[in-house]
Symmetry: C2
Subunit: 174 residues, 2 copies
């Protein structure tokens, strides 16, 4: 029966994947708005969609470690620092979090004993952050689980395909 106040946007059998409903709405919008840049918008929405998905997958895996995607990212960026130290501003640009949020995140990691924080001697405005031994152990401990989560999404693409997507997407930043 067709309701007079609301009907589902798509017949249920046309729901391919979790993105189909979004794509359908984009297509409807395209019909309504002349000049609508469908290809741009679809990719933009797809990126948002995948980003949310991978964040959720990671969060799931990280829960037992009492971490979330943001704290995990901060830890990984520190782990990947050439000299094993980072400043809050570097961490801000490496994680995409605002400096003010980095302060809070580091407060938390500090409280958990995963990092240490001390004033820089060479530039006294700065602060130096470093993983503790415990922090490094934790990073190494959750790796296998995170790799599994990544696999769930990205193992569907071959190495060549991954590199191609990556290189194309990178061009948007040029």
């Amino acid at each position: 029966m067709i309701s007079d106040d609301h009907n589902p946007g798509m017949p249920p059998d046309l729901h391919g994947d979790s993105f189909s409903e979004v794509e359908h709405r984009i297509e409807v919008t395209r019909r309504r708005l002349p000049g609508y840049p469908l290809d741009h918008v679809r990719l933009a929405r797809l990126i948002t969609h995948i980003q949310k998905l991978q964040t959720e997958l990671c969060n799931e895996v990280l829960k037992p470690f009492e971490l979330n995607f943001v704290t995990y990212t901060a830890l990984m960026m520190m782990y990947g620092s050439e000299d094993q130290t980072s400043t809050p501003s570097e961490l801000s640009s490496a994680t995409g979090e605002k400096p003010t949020n980095v302060t809070r995140i580091c407060d938390e990691l500090l409280r958990k004993g995963l990092i240490e924080r001390y004033p820089s001697t060479s530039d006294r405005r700065r602060v130096v952050l470093r993983l503790t031994a415990q922090g490094e152990r934790l990073v190494e401990q959750y790796q296998p689980k995170i790799w599994e989560a990544m696999d769930q999404l990205y193992s569907k693409l071959s190495k060549a395909e991954l590199q191609q997507v990556t290189s194309l997407l990178r061009r948007t930043l040029a």
Copy 2:
């Protein structure tokens, strides 16, 4: 002079684009962790990076309209509904926002007169949401600015390239 407590991760002339520093940290991590799935992680981080960038670009453009990326997304998903109505749960899955947040967002859009909200007659658990004339006008008003923002990122790729990236990325959701 090389500091004894902290040095920048990369020589400044190697900073290609905003993602280079992240990539560098991923590569350092790869050296430290045998078996590290570099291709997966790099793409995952790149997606996060671009997502943040496009969100910021949109927020910038939307500020004069007193909207942000999330409220804008909600409006667009409503605008793209086949019969011009949506329920909160549909909106939740179309926007990726939790139902509880959809309630808050709709409260706000309602308060601004951009949408209307009434109970469904066919299923009395549901609520029906619909853009008002004012809401539609606003959507149409900000389009050109949003398209410009999209262009800043995605016009660097050809139509064929956009479609290729999209189709590859889509495979991750299969």
